[in-house]
């Protein structure tokens, strides 16, 4: 649904230049099970979420159709390598290891990690306190590394929901995740007997991820992101999903 003429002009060019999986279409990989970034409206409805809408806005800017491919995180990078997607929009946070293998767009989410514990658990008030404690992390998230660095022994789980379950059942001491995830959870589920014990000092940056050969595409998308930021679109989306602008 690209309205403006210059956009559609761009698209005709785009189709051939970016070496897209499917000419004229931006093929985006996302989990579809990572609320509130990428999930299905009331479970079985349309694919929505902050990352999803950001990707849609970007495609719109480039005058490209957009097509989402939903898959587990395990498969997401394999799929990107296999040339099945053009880009991953799933809160991929930038870290050195990944930068060796992949290209990143300008970050569109800036947030900090939080340690979530059961209410009234005073034994943890900082990341240092995690030493020797047990945390539940989804292996593939970058929070996993943070927990490990903090000296916690990590129980790997499928995702946030399982992590919270373990925490509430008292089988782990804490779980580290994105502040935004936590807020969304509390907003929808109401008081769940868990609270934030500490927040990371340095915040993490999430961006769209590409294979190394997609330099042109990344350049184009960075411009698009800047425009969206300037037009306040990213801020709107932030408000919509988090009640705050999270794009910087």
């Amino acid at each position: 649904s690209s309205g403006s003429p210059e956009a559609s002009a761009g698209s005709s060019a785009a189709g051939d230049d970016f070496g897209l999986v499917k000419a004229g279409t931006l093929t985006v990989a996302t989990e579809g099970t990572y609320r509130p970034f990428s999930f299905h409206d009331d479970g079985s409805g349309d694919l929505v979420g902050y990352d999803v809408e950001v990707a849609e806005a970007v495609a719109d800017k480039l005058g490209l159709e957009i097509e989402f491919q939903e898959t587990q995180w395990d498969a997401i990078f394999a799929g990107l390598d296999a040339g099945r997607f053009d880009v991953i929009a799933n809160q991929v946070s930038i870290n050195p290891e990944r930068e060796e293998q992949y290209l990143f767009s300008a970050p569109y989410t800036v947030s900090s990690g939080v340690i979530v514990v059961n209410e009234g658990d005073t034994s943890i008030s900082s990341f240092d306190d995690l030493a020797g404690k047990t945390t539940a992390q989804s292996l593939t998230s970058n929070w996993n590394e943070l927990a490990t660095e903090s000296g916690a022994n990590v129980e790997a789980v499928e995702g946030w929901a399982q992590a919270v379950a373990l925490l509430q059942q008292g089988r782990v001491d804490a779980t580290i995740n994105d502040e935004l995830t936590y807020l969304d959870f509390v907003n929808t589920n109401g008081p769940s007997g868990i609270e934030v014990a500490a927040t990371t000092s340095d915040s993490s940056l999430s961006a769209l991820a590409f294979t190394k050969d997609k330099t042109d595409l990344v350049a184009a998308i960075d411009t698009a992101l800047d425009e969206l930021r300037a037009e306040g679109v990213l801020a709107e989306l932030g408000e919509k999903y988090f009640g705050a602008d999270v794009s910087e």
Binding site: E31, G32, T33, Y34, R35, F39, H40, D41, D42, G43, S44, Q69, E70, T71, Q72, D74, A75, A78, G79, D81, A82, G83, R84, G159, W160, A161, Q162, V164, A165, F185, T188, N189
Partner: protein, 221 residues
């Protein structure tokens, strides 16, 4: 609990739909193709030619010796590296067919061996070739023997198709994951999914009964 119940009701139809549009067609297609494959492999396995039976043996051993998950990965994410890019559904059908081919081959082989040697000879003595005897005499009898084990293979397949979500096929379990991720009630949703899988299996078993009856018309009750 009330809203849990509500969620259960709201999710039921989407899950069933995921089953009817994803799980069942995927399972049926893969099973049909897999059976043809399996028959071929079983016959190769029974061949007197060492090389031929060796190939079948190896194929079966690899299929049965490696996790289905990996087989899916190789076909969907691995083959592109040798230039073969298939869409999710074809990839899934190929992977599951190959898998069924490996498991069902052993079932069919056992069924063929279970037909008394005298039946082959009765066929030969009325002038039949090996092929004709196989087609007209042995396979019809082997079919009866292999229905129960094959229906087990099929039921396992129905559940295994949940792995297809890994390669972008949306079926019952994928839908369950989506709802679970949204609501956080993964326990409830997974149980509901299990219930629906179970219902599917009950229907299938009933089908098995029907087939056995039809094939049983020529054996003493």
């Amino acid at each position: 609990m009330a809203e849990g119940w509500q969620l259960f009701l709201d999710s039921f139809w989407p899950l069933v739909l995921g089953g009817l549009t994803g799980t069942i067609p995927l399972a049926l297609a893969s099973f049909a193709i897999g059976l043809v494959l399996a028959l071929g492999v079983a016959l190769m396995r029974l061949s007197k030619n060492r090389v031929v039976s060796g190939i079948a043996r190896f194929y079966i051993s690899v299929i049965r010796g490696t996790p289905l998950l990996v087989q899916l990965f190789v076909i969907f994410y691995g083959m592109p590296s040798i230039g073969i890019v298939l869409d999710p559904w074809p990839s899934a059908i190929i992977a599951f067919s190959l898998n069924v081919g490996g498991y069902a081959a052993e079932v069919i082989r056992a069924a063929i061996l279970s037909v008394p040697k005298g039946q082959w000879e009765a066929g030969y003595t009325i002038g039949m070739s090996h092929g004709t005897a196989l087609r007209r005499i042995i396979l019809p009898q082997a079919a009866r023997v292999s229905v129960p084990p094959l229906s087990n293979t099929f039921i396992s397949l129905v559940k295994d198709t949940s792995l297809a979500s890994l390669i972008l096929v949306t079926e019952l379990f994928r839908v369950a994951e989506q709802i679970a991720a949204f609501s956080g009630e993964f326990m409830l949703i997974y149980l509901e999914a299990a219930l629906i899988y179970w219902l599917f299996c009950l229907v299938l078993s009933a089908g098995q009964g029907r087939i056995e009856q039809r094939l049983d018309r020529y054996v003493a009750q």
